[in-house]
């Protein structure tokens, strides 16, 4: 029982982390508090659904198209919608308020377009749902795939951000955009790149999540909020932090469901989140407020 609870918690946490990691990049590096994030997750879910049901393309193969497409889409969003806000913001606080307002509008537009195309119905499809036994517990293969992606993306980006020139540059932009300009980093480009990359990761999350969750056009907000919780709890801009925060929440949820009361699973994630913030106001791996 315990091993099952932990294992299923880890897969659940992997999903949380997966969905959150793009946002931590967007918010951490590009400083865009993207309230439309969840909608872009859902868009990817719908595309995966269409690929699977109408075109017969397996979602994992679909990723080959969806990742570059969403990267491009988010690139355009940043260039067209967000660059003017970045340019006019005198400080981080102003950009935060402006980006909240602008992406709030974007949220409605994306949701509205989805609604016109797909209606308000629930959607779900069947892919990789066979059971896999590991460590004596049975888990659906699609969840393991999602977990695998989360770990690979989390660790991979951790390595990229810490070990490569471009990654270090992205972190430099996150730490201090003004100084980053002084070392020849094109901050606008880097922000745009990070935003687009974050968007591509949101799409990966959306595709993988759609393999095992029922979704509808109005569910984007749920993902945005979960992602925000994970991002803030893990420390803004910290990929590994997001991964660990996601896993903590997933395992806690699962243990509470098994040993206390499934009715408290969501409550417990918020309790943990609030406690983390009260004890460490900048998140598990966040730097002290500057």
């Amino acid at each position: 029982m315990f091993s099952y609870a932990v294992l299923s918690g880890i897969t659940l946490g992997g999903m949380y982390a997966l969905v959150a990691m793009g946002l931590t990049l967007q918010y951490g590096v590009s400083r865009i508090m993207n309230l439309a994030y969840g909608e872009l997750v859902i868009v990817a879910s719908f595309i995966a659904f269409v690929f699977m049901t109408a075109l017969g393309i397996n979602p994992l193969i679909g990723l080959l198209i969806i990742i570059p497409a969403s990267f491009a889409l988010n690139w355009v969003i940043y260039r067209v919608l967000l660059t003017p806000l970045v340019a006019r913001a005198k400080n981080r606080g102003m950009l935060e308020v402006d980006s909240i307002l602008a992406t709030f509008g974007l949220l409605f537009i994306v949701q509205g377009v989805l609604l016109v195309w797909f209606g308000g119905n629930y959607y779900s499809y069947d892919f990789l749902n066979n059971a896999v036994d590991i460590f004596g517990a049975t888990i659906a293969a699609n969840r393991l795939v999602a977990l695998g992606f989360a770990v690979v993306i989390g660790l991979g980006f951790y390595l990229i951000l810490t070990r490569t020139r471009m990654g270090t540059a992205l972190r430099a932009v996150a730490v201090d955009p003004t100084s980053a300009r002084l070392v020849a980093i094109d901050v606008n480009f880097a922000s745009c790149f990070a935003f687009a990359l974050g968007g591509a990761m949101a799409a990966v999350g959306g595709v993988l999540v759609s393999m095992f969750l029922t979704f509808s056009t109005s569910m984007g907000v749920v993902f945005t909020m979960k992602a925000l919780i994970v991002v803030i709890m893990g420390g803004v801009g910290n990929m590994l932090g997001a991964l660990i925060a996601g896993l903590i929440l997933g395992v806690a949820e699962s243990l509470v469901a098994t040993y206390i009361d499934p009715g408290l699973t969501i409550a417990v994630t918020y309790v943990i989140f609030l406690l983390v913030l009260l004890i460490k106001p900048s998140g598990l791996f966040g730097r002290a407020a500057s």
Binding site: S8, Q111, N121, N130, T217, S218, S254, P262, L264, T265
Partner: protein, 405 residues
């Protein structure tokens, strides 16, 4: 040159709009249409439910009547004109939209919104303004009191107790036959609907000497139910009951399949009777039990399903959709019987009942429809009340889950 062309276009557009709006104004004055209004959740958490059970029915009903030339009112045929709003799944929006329909749009009749909370929110306003309220998608234990409180209101899906008791009676029969043991595992979504049904279910099952080996709730919005299924699997219950919402229903089914949890009776819903469920699980839906049901052999029902598929490009759900459709048929007949657009006359006809619908001879508010149903050969047939005409035999035990393709 360029500018003047644009200007001309704009002028033409403006003129057209003006002409059109005056046209509608005159049209409304001359009472050549019957104005139907509704406010429904096109966005927000209630949108999926509304899109499944209610909106296609409303739209199909209007289209069918208008295609046939309109409603027969006396010796005239009145086409239906629709005013619709999005209540955004919010009680406050719903209240305002209904006020707007009554006072601004002055519609002749108002169709109900989707869901218990929204129907309750608008009920007092409809009552005060003298509109009948055919609440097609509200399940509330207070249904009988509400019907008394607001005399023109009809709570068509009945009380949670009815479903729970009918299910318990049905299970009692199986137990008596020695088909299932006395252990039941029950899970409910922590929401008005889930709690009402689980509360009634708990009482009804315990009255019938069932042992509730698992009796918990999960929060609305929680989709990961793997641990719950895993816990229940170890308890040896022959009967699994989930009073859940569609995402949960699908999640529970999914996890039961993955974990190889094969109770003899697998009951889950809302959502099982949705076309989504069959599309999603295919053959694996076979034997799953839930609320609702349809006598699919009945030509009227079969015809309704066929028309629904043609109109909405998907099947109707086998629970609230059918009740909703029967209600709309009743409304149409009440108007025709009244022979006038006068609201009070129509209300009086509605109260009389005796309409010919897909649920047979129907009186709104009298719950004569399937409370327990089961997927059998791709059809969601009615099982209970067992004394209803066309009650199907239970497929027992539920076939084991097949591996995913």
């Amino acid at each position: 040159m360029h500018i003047s062309a644009k200007l001309r276009l704009a002028t033409i557009a403006a003129a057209t709009t003006a002409v059109m709006s005056t046209a509608t104004l005159f049209g409304a004055n001359a009472q050549e249409t019957y104005r139907i209004g509704y406010a429904i959740s096109k966005t927000g958490p209630a949108a999926p439910g509304a899109a499944t059970s209610t909106i296609p029915n409303y739209e199909m009903w209007v289209k069918e009547i208008n295609d046939a030339g309109g409603l027969q009112v006396g010796d005239k045929k009145l086409p239906i004109e629709v005013v619709e709003y999005d209540d955004r799944s919010s009680s406050e929006e719903a209240v305002r939209a209904i006020e707007r329909l009554i006072n601004q749009d002055k519609v002749d009749f108002i169709l109900s919104p989707w869901g218990t909370g929204l129907n309750l929110a608008v009920a007092p306003i409809l009552d005060r303004a003298g509109y009948a309220h055919l609440a097609g998608t509200a399940v509330t234990d207070k249904a009988p009191q509400l019907a008394k409180r607001w005399t023109n209101s009809y709570w068509l899906l009945g009380t949670g107790e009815q479903y729970a008791v009918e299910l318990a009676k049905f299970l009692e029969g199986l137990k008596a036959e020695g088909k299932i043991n006395d252990k039941v595992a029950m899970i409910a979504v922590a929401d008005g609907f889930g709690i009402e049904l689980s509360k009634a279910g708990r009482e009804a099952l315990e009255d019938r000497d069932f042992d509730l080996v698992y009796d918990k709730t999960y929060p609305l919005g929680s989709q990961d139910l793997a641990t719950i299924v895993n816990d229940i699997k170890a308890l040896g219950a022959d009967t699994f009951v989930a009073f859940s919402y569609p995402p949960g229903t699908l999640g529970l089914t999914e996890q039961s399949r993955v974990l190889g949890f094969n109770p003899k009776v697998f009951y889950a819903g809302v959502g099982t009777a949705f076309p989504l469920y069959k599309n999603r699980f295919g053959d694996n839906a076979e034997g799953v039990v839930s609320l609702g049901g349809a006598s699919e052999d009945d030509p009227k029902i079969a015809d309704y399903i066929k028309r629904h598929v043609e109109f909405a490009e998907r099947e109707p759900d086998r629970w609230a959709s059918i009740v909703n459709w029967a209600t709309l048929q009743s409304l149409q007949q009440a108007i025709e019987r009244a022979g006038t657009t006068d609201r009070e006359a129509i209300n009086a006809e509605l109260a009389k009942g005796g309409f010919d619908t897909i649920l047979g001879t129907y009186k709104p508010g009298d719950q004569t429809f399937w409370q327990v149903g089961q997927w059998q050969d791709g059809k969601f047939v009615g099982l209970a009340p067992t004394d209803m005409e066309g009650a199907a035999e239970l497929v027992f035990p539920k076939p084991e889950w097949k591996a995913a393709q």
